[in-house]
């Protein structure tokens, strides 16, 4: 998205619902309590109920641009005849997603790279163009496993966002990052007041204090890729993966993971009718890489843990000069057997 002139405004917390009320051209989403301790994005039903300072969502916002299951096209073929292929490109209602944590918006930046390099992905890009992401700067790390600072981010990073909101004593400081963010802000009209010099100083201070909160450390990020390369053959990979049950939660709920499967789902055999569908997939499943011959380049749990960690901290870094991990900590918090990517990087990714 094109960057715009910094536009910084103040909004009373009590006026958030009024601003949302003016965005009727868009469908609004915000984190909602789904179950005990489980926050997830859901459509905003009553704007007054939206609270943005909650813990991060269990599912990252990647669903909005890269849904778990997506039909690429429909096919219908009478044997011996040409099939009819019906493209099912997404045409979603424009939407605004509130409460996006900076680690998750930085995940979108990494997905942007994957889904636009070499070849366009019209499904991803179609949804991305229609979805506005409004960030929520973290005051304190929402999870004990947060480590955004350790992977080049910060609790107030603007990367991938259209607007960044920071809570300040009963008010929100709202900064437009992109033009479409500025347009969204403008719809609030008089609800927004110009940010004063003291507001700006207060927000800078808030960001600084958030950044100063202790997080899980990765000491020398710049040396991780090289160290992982050196340790490719280490026996420690198998050792650390021993408890892994191969559930894939670390990748499914990762804001940067983009791997997918493509399958035909058939609803009628004659004529052959169905959909070609893509679904999230994971390098943690053994059949992810298994050849039809039975040969499997990544046969062991250790080799699959290595793939996840090296893809994030070595391969992606070699290609794009940034790790493909934004430090949200979900893969640590949600792993049923306690595999901890920071500990793995500490052990095999440090000189």
């Amino acid at each position: 998205m094109t960057k715009t002139m910094a536009m910084e405004k103040m909004l009373n917390k009590a006026d958030l619902a009024a601003w949302m009320g003016k965005l009727e051209t868009h469908q609004l989403f915000a984190p909602m309590l789904e179950d005990e301790g489980v926050w997830n994005y859901a459509p905003v039903v009553k704007a007054a109920d939206v609270a943005l300072d909650q813990p991060n969502t269990v599912r990252p916002p990647k669903d909005f641009v890269f849904p778990q299951r997506e039909t690429l096209y429909r096919f219908e073929q009478v044997r011996g005849e040409a099939p009819v292929l019906t493209e099912t490109l997404p045409d979603p209602q424009p939407s605004v997603v509130f409460g996006v944590r900076p680690c998750d918006s930085r995940g979108l930046v990494r997905q942007d790279i994957v889904f636009t390099k070499e070849f366009d992905d019209p499904y991803f890009q179609g949804r991305r163009a229609k979805t506005i992401f409004v960030g929520q700067a973290c005051k304190v790390p929402p999870s004990p496993n947060c480590f955004c600072n350790s992977v080049g981010g910060s609790p107030s990073s603007e990367d991938g966002l259209d607007l960044l909101m920071t809570e300040l004593d009963g008010k929100y400081h709202v900064k437009a990052v992109t033009q479409r963010g500025a347009d969204l802000l403008a719809k609030g009209g008089a609800l927004f007041k110009e940010a004063s010099a003291s507001d700006k100083a207060a927000v800078a201070k808030a960001h600084e204090s958030a950044k100063a909160h202790p997080q899980r450390p990765i000491k020398e990020l710049g040396k991780v890729a090289g160290a992982l390369k050196q340790n490719f053959d280490s026996k420690a990979w198998d050792e650390m993966a021993k408890a892994c049950i191969g559930c894939g939660i670390c990748t499914f709920l990762c804001p940067t993971c983009h791997c997918f499967d493509i399958n035909d789902e058939v609803t009628c055999s004659s004529p052959c009718k169905g959909e070609r569908v893509r679904t999230w997939d994971t390098c943690q499943f053994p059949d992810f890489t298994m050849h039809t011959s039975g040969h499997n380049p990544r046969e062991t749990l250790g080799s699959r843990l290595r793939q996840r960690v090296c893809h994030k901290f070595q391969y992606f870094t070699e290609n794009h000069d940034m790790p493909q991990c934004t430090g949200c900590g979900r893969c640590i918090s949600l792993c049923p057997v306690g595999i901890d990517i920071v500990s793995v990087v500490e052990r095999l990714g440090q000189p």
């Binding site: 040409a82 099939p83 992905d121 791997c259 493509i262 052959c272 997939d281 050849h291 893809h311």
Partner: protein
Amino acid sequence: MSHNAYLPKLGRIAAIKDEVPGNRAIKTYQIEFVSGDGFEHDCGQCAMISVFGKGESMISIASAPHVTGYKQFSIMKTGRVTTALHDLNVGDIVGVRGPYGNKFPVKDWKGKNLVFIGGGVGLAPIWPVIQTALHHKGSYGKVSVFYGGRTSRDLMYKADLDKMREQADIHLSVDAKEDGWKEFVGFVPSNVKDKAPSPDNAIAITCGPPIMIKFVIQNLKELGFTDDNIYTTIENKMKCGIGKCGRCNVGKDYVCVNGPVYSWAALKELPPEY
């Protein structure tokens, strides 16, 4: 927005030739584009072939770039999609999208002797290079082709190889002795060692089962071929073909985009995960 890369073009099966019989049969298909909006390709590139209702498979394009009107694919019956392909008839319509992957640097090989070493269905990916070298005969040096299979019934392109004997040195082999077989008996790497092609001003191009490639490279190096004069193609499971689904990822590369063609000098820098 450019064309939707996931949406295949339609191809009509114009001809089918049985190459190898048995459980892992190989058939060669000539596929022509239904509406003439096909694509051009380079030696070494692949295409995703769809059987609607079954799925897609990434297959090497076995015809040379100068062959227009159809694309040739030699396909071993192995999994769901390739089995479905083997059940199709001339006239049936499949999906074709591509071309995908990098290419053999054939233009850089002008004036050089080319040593091709194939095993089983692995002759298909290097076949367009052989065809190109012979089509522009004056531009390249001596062409030799080593090719082997488990038995003589497992060899494909037999008639074409026989015809080729006037223009190239053809060295066939079968793994074990059989009645009436007059050429080399033994594995492909041993045949290469036995005939000992000279590494002078030469490029070796090999494709076949991973174990064959391993010993071919070992023997080529013993003969004096350097790592950057040995080329091979690798394969990995693929779904998208356009560097996004992550299946074929090896180190910093996606085989569907950065491969499948590698010099041994480049390949040995990647993790051995193919």
